[in-house]
Structure formats: structure tokens, C-alpha cells
């Protein structure tokens, strides 16, 4: 993305304008907010506390007490879906934050200092990139064992490449910008220039990458769950879909349907938000 001579203020205005102009984008933001609130409520223990409790017979159809029926262990599916939302948010947030931080740090150092630092970091990410993403993901989580921490690490070690590459490119460009040259003329140290002057100007790119990775993490968790490597001990949409695969044949589609729809809405909202964000940040694209 090429955003010539725009201040961060301009970007913020453009983003707000873009979102205001699109009802779909506003709707997507609302969905994200609702999900986020639900996730916080789960964390505070206000809702879905009974996700692990036996509330009835196994495989009950939707009824007055269990709106989406029960699973094999007689647990309330709706509670589990809501609870899994928390997991999705944690997985998404942790993965996206760490990946973007790591990617930005390495990308910034690489672009700014050049030389062997750059050579090393470029080598590192082109190496990681040339291993198929799913293979790397599975290999890492296989070695770390199933479970949440393995999932995080596998995701971060796989996903940092994207932001790193982009931030590096942007830093390379900004390095020559007038305000950077001015800062140099003021005699500021390289670290101050890099992290006070250059990196803040790449925040919009970090934001877009953040949303992209958030979605990628939620979707990849399903695949890992299918392979038995996903979240353990707590319900996640991935484990629910994986569990419910077999139930489709039995004629119980509440679990797979519910988890799919729940996940679909959040991912859709994030996709739309990301799109809107990208449009606002890169006005050349009128998507």
C-alpha cells in the first residue's frame, strides 16, 4: 500500500468517514463489538458459566431451556458456543497481537538498519515462508503438543511473516521521508528515530495485519482441532465443529450448525471491517 504524505490524523479521518459511509461496515463493527462484549462477559463469569455442566439428556433437540439443544455429554450447546467465543477472542487477540508485535519489530529493524540485520531477517522470513503454512503450523503444534499454548506459539511463529514483510517495506520507504531526515538533522539517535518517528507511521498497516491475522487464527484453529491439535479442556468452535462432524450423520446438526454460524458471523464481520479499513487506507482501491 502506498499512502503518500498522509498524516496519521488524515488516516483516522478517512477511516471514520469510510465506516460512516457504509451501513454494512457499521453493522460489521457492531457484530464485533457484540462478540467482544460477550467474550468479556464470559471472562467475568457473567454468562455461559454452565458450559461444562450436564443440563439434560444427551443430544436433546432445541427446547425452552437449551435453545440449541445439548451435546453428547448433555451440555448446553448455546452456552458452549458463547463460551467458545471467548476462546476465539483470546486466540485471535493473543495471536494477532504477538504476531504483529514480533513482525513489526523485526520488520522495522530490518528495514531501518539494513546490512546484515536485514539480510538475516529477510532470510528468516523467506525461509519460514517457503514452508507450507499448514505444514509448519501442524509441525510446531505437533511438537509443542496439543493445547492452547501450543496453538499460540504455532500461530505466532507462522503468522509474523506477513506484518514483518510489509512493515519492512514501509520502513524502507519512510526512512527517506523528509520528517525522518529532519529528525536525523536534529541529532536524534537511531532507536528514537525508528520507534518514535517511523514506526508510529506504520500503525495503520499493523492494524490491517492485526485483523487479517485475527481471522486467520480463528479459522486455522478449526483445522488444528480437526487434527486433534486445537484447544483442549474448553470448548472452541473448532473443537465443536470437529466433534459435531460425526453427529451430522446421526441427524444432530445443532452443534455443527450453531458453531459454524457463530464463527461465520464473526469472521464475516472481521472480513468486512478489514476490507473497509483497507479501502480507507488505500484510496486507490475502490473496492
Amino acid at each position: 500500500m502506498n499512502i503518500p504524505n498522509t498524516t496519521f490524523q488524515d488516516l483516522r479521518t478517512r477511516v471514520t468517514q469510510k465506516f460512516r459511509g457504509s451501513p454494512v461496515a457499521i453493522f460489521s463493527l457492531m457484530v464485533i463489538v457484540v462478540y467482544a462484549i460477550a467474550a468479556v462477559m464470559v471472562m467475568l463469569g457473567l454468562v455461559a458459566n454452565d458450559f461444562d455442566a450436564r443440563v439434560g439428556e444427551k443430544f436433546m433437540s432445541p427446547n425452552a431451556t437449551s435453545w440449541l439443544g445439548t451435546d453428547r455429554l448433555g451440555r448446553d450447546i448455546l452456552s458452549r458456543i458463547v463460551y467458545a467465543n471467548k476462546i476465539a477472542f483470546i486466540v485471535g487477540l493473543v495471536t494477532a497481537t504477538l504476531s504483529v508485535l514480533l513482525g513489526t519489530l523485526l520488520g522495522a529493524l530490518s528495514g531501518f538498519f539494513g546490512g546484515w540485520v536485514d539480510a538475516f531477517i529477510v532470510w528468516l522470513y523467506s525461509t519460514v515462508e517457503s514452508i507450507p503454512y499448514l505444514l509448519l503450523l501442524i509441525a510446531i503444534s505437533y511438537i509443542l503438543g496439543a493445547g492452547l499454548s501450543g496453538v499460540y506459539l504455532a500461530f505466532v511463529l507462522t503468522f509474523w511473516v506477513g506484518p514483518c514483510r510489509i512493515i519492512r517495506g514501509e520502513v524502507l520507504k519512510l526512512k527517506e521521508a523528509e520528517f525522518v531526515i529532519a529528525a536525523r538533522a536534529m541529532g536524534y539517535g537511531p532507536m528514537r528515530i525508528l520507534f518514535r518517528h517511523i514506526v508510529p507511521n506504520t500503525l495503520h498497516l499493523a492494524l490491517v495485519n492485526f485483523t487479517l491475522i485475527f481471522v486467520a487464527a480463528i479459522k486455522s484453529e478449526v483445522i488444528l482441532s480437526y487434527l486433534g491439535l486445537g484447544v483442549q479442556g474448553e470448548p472452541s468452535w473448532g473443537t465443536m465443529i470437529d466433534q459435531a462432524r460425526a453427529e451430522l450423520v446421526n441427524g444432530f446438526f445443532w452443534q455443527i450448525g450453531g458453531a459454524t454460524v457463530a464463527m461465520f458471523l464473526l469472521v464475516l464481520a472481521f472480513n468486512i471491517a478489514t476490507d473497509t479499513l483497507q479501502q480507507a487506507l488505500d484510496p486507490r482501491q475502490t473496492r
Binding site: Q17, K18, R20, G21, T286
Partner: protein, 347 residues
């Protein structure tokens, strides 16, 4: 219609009360308001003004190429060859474009498709508008390339745009525009991207073509030097409005709008001004002129009066520089403050 128009030659392109609306996200604004221009056969009309005043948009509106979903003709008409171009459908527009009505764009590098050869980009104009055979098309295109002064033209036919220098690219762009010997050429700052010596050559080329074919040129520029060399008449635009129009002599000798005067002051005659230097007048062009009541130039005007802020002045005829066929019009209260003579009003 006044009696004057009966004497003047019939315009080949006539713009009446053209208002172009721009949409940006949810907000709308008028980029031009009530623009009126007449272009006669064999005439070069200069359109001058700061960047963003609506010159290029006006040209695009004539071509029917306003950015889709963003720009729209709100009111007015553009008469050409018996059609109102603001209402003409795409197929009709296509028969005009590149044929009897052509346009030369500012930046010659961007105006050429980087992955097609010069030859193909020239030939496709002929392939679209004529029924010539391939070999004839090739000959025609090559001939035109030679006419615009392209050295080694036969070889250049197979070249890609990036293999040519800026001046040569602009020659290609001009060759494309001239291929069909159009009646009207819209030249949108055809030389601003080029260096001084090349500028002169390109302008000479345009001028000689115009003379030979008796074409009409609407020359968009902000360089009064170019105007002086090329044009018969001038229209000055500010904030989407024509604020002064008249013959080159009238404008240069009797600039009646403070804005025009400032522009001329800023540029000693005869010396070309590099792009961007026009904005020596303090202040900025209003971002949304319609938010401003009264004269749009008032905030920057040194001679501003109370009345200027109340109502927007309309174009009126001034005596100095007006001829029988080419009236000198200006929209400014102070231009008339000494005399309350109102001769003619053009909306």
C-alpha cells in the same frame, strides 16, 4: 440570445451552465458551477486556473469520462455535433471520442499502457474508428508518428512506452489524439510534465496541426506564457467558476478580476512558470466553495468589500478589451465599482 452572437461564428463546442457534482463518501459538492464556454472552429481557447479549480473535470465532462460513481453532471449541457454530450449514451460518445473529439492528457508516461507497444496503441484508434485494413492502419499510424516528429518512427512502432523519453511519449499521446484529425482537441496541460525546450517543440507541433486542420483546441494550462503563445481567447477559472473571459489581448492588457490580475502579476510575461508556482496568492482555494456565501475569492482578495461577502457576482461585460464578437466578461463587483454600466449578462 444577444445580437452579438449573431455576428460571432457558430461555436463547434458549446458548454452551457455546466455544474459537476462530486461525491466523496456520503458528502456531495459542486466542483464546477454554471460554467459556460464556447469554442469555435480554428480557435485556441486557453482555460487557466489553479490546480483543483475544475479545469480537468470540465474536460473530462466533455469527454463523458467523469470518474464513475464520483463525478456527475448535475445541470447544464455540452453541445457538440448536434448532440448534448451530457445526455449522449456510451456508444454515441464512443463514436466521438478519439475521432472528432480527442483529448491529450497531462502525464505522458501514465497516459500510455505500459504493456502494449506504441504501434498497437496508435493502431487501435484507427481500428476503432475506420474500416481500414491492417496494413493501411499501420501506414497511417506510422505516418502520424512521423508527423509528430518522432525520430526513427518505424522502430518506435514496436517499442514500449518506458523505452521512450518523456517528450517522445507526449508526441505519441499527441499522435494518438490527432490520428483522426479531430475537430476539437482538449489538451489538458500537455506540457507541464516536460522540460522547457521540449515544451516549446510540443506546443509548436500542436499549433501547426491546429492551423493545418483548422481544428479547435481547448488548452488547459496555468501558464500564461503558453496562453500568450498559443491562444486566441482565455477563460480564467476559480473555485469551479469562470470568473473572467476574453481575448488574450483583453485579459493581458486589462485584467479586470483581482484574481486574474494577481495571476498575471505573479508571472512576469514571457517567462514560463514551473508547475505549482501559481499559488503565490496567500490563502487557499476554499475546499467547498458552496459553503461560502458571496464571491468565492473574497477571503483571499486584497480589495474585498462588504458586498463581496453577501452575494456572488455574476459575469458581466466590461468595456476594456471587448470586441464585437469577443466580449470581455468578468464576475467581480469591484471591476464595476467606478461605473455602473451593465452591458450584458451571461449566466
Amino acid at each position: 440570445m444577444s445580437t452579438l452572437s449573431e455576428v460571432a461564428p457558430a461555436p463547434i463546442l458549446s458548454i452551457r451552465d455546466l455544474s459537476i457534482e462530486l461525491r466523496n463518501g456520503g458528502s456531495k459538492q459542486l466542483a464546477t458551477k454554471g460554467v459556460g464556454l464556447d469554442l469555435c472552429q480554428g480557435e485556441v481557447l486557453g482555460l487557466v486556473g489553479e490546480s483543483g479549480c475544475g479545469k480537468t473535470l470540465t474536460c473530462k465532462a466533455i469527454m463523458g469520462l467523469l470518474p464513475e460513481g464520483v463525478g456527475r453532471v448535475q445541470t447544464g449541457e455540452i453541445l457538440f455535433s448536434g448532440h448534448d454530450l451530457t445526455r449522449a449514451n456510451e456508444p454515441t460518445m464512443r463514436t466521438f471520442r478519439g475521432n472528432t473529439l480527442s483529448m491529450i492528457f497531462q502525464n505522458p508516461l501514465n497516459a500510455l499502457n505500459p504493456v502494449l507497444t506504441i504501434g498497437e496503441q496508435l493502431s487501435e484508434v484507427l481500428a476503432t474508428h475506420t474500416t481500414l485494413k491492417r496494413s493501411e492502419i499501420y501506414q497511417e499510424a506510422l505516418h502520424m508518428l512521423r508527423r509528430v516528429g518522432m525520430p526513427d518512427a518505424a522502430r518506435r512502432m514496436r517499442a514500449y512506452p518506458h523505452e521512450l523519453s518523456g517528450g517522445m511519449r507526449q508526441r505519441v499521446v499527441i499522435a494518438m489524439a490527432l490520428l483522426m484529425e479531430p475537430d476539437v482537441i482538449l489538451a489538458d496541460e500537455p506540457t507541464t510534465a516536460l522540460d522547457v525546450t521540449v515544451q516549446a517543440q510540443i506546443l509548436k507541433l500542436l499549433k501547426s496541426f491546429q492551423r493545418n486542420h483548422n481544428s479547435a483546441i481547448l488548452l488547459v494550462t496555468h501558464d500564461f506564457g503558453v496562453i500568450a503563445d498559443m491562444c486566441d481567447r482565455v477563460a480564467v477559472m476559480y473555485a469551479g467558476r469562470i470568473i473572467e473571459t476574453g481575448t488574450v489581448e483583453a485579459i493581458f492588457d486589462h485584467p479586470s478580476h483581482p484574481y486574474t490580475a494577481k495571476l498575471l502579476e505573479a508571472m512576469p510575461r514571457g517567462r514560463p512558470v514551473p508547475r505549482g508556482e501559481l499559488s503565490v496568492i496567500p490563502g487557499r482555494v476554499p475546499s467547498n466553495p458552496d459553503d461560502l456565501s458571496g464571491c468565492k475569492f473574497a477571503p483571499r482578495c486584497e480589495r474585498v468589500q462588504k458586498a463581496c461577502h453577501r452575494t456572488e457576482p455574476r459575469l458581466k461585460r466590461v468595456r476594456e478589451g471587448s470586441t464585437r464578437i469577443d466580449p470581455h466578461l468578468v464576475s467581480c463587483f469591484i471591476a464595476f465599482e467606478d461605473r455602473d454600466e451593465v452591458t450584458h449578462v451571461i449566466e
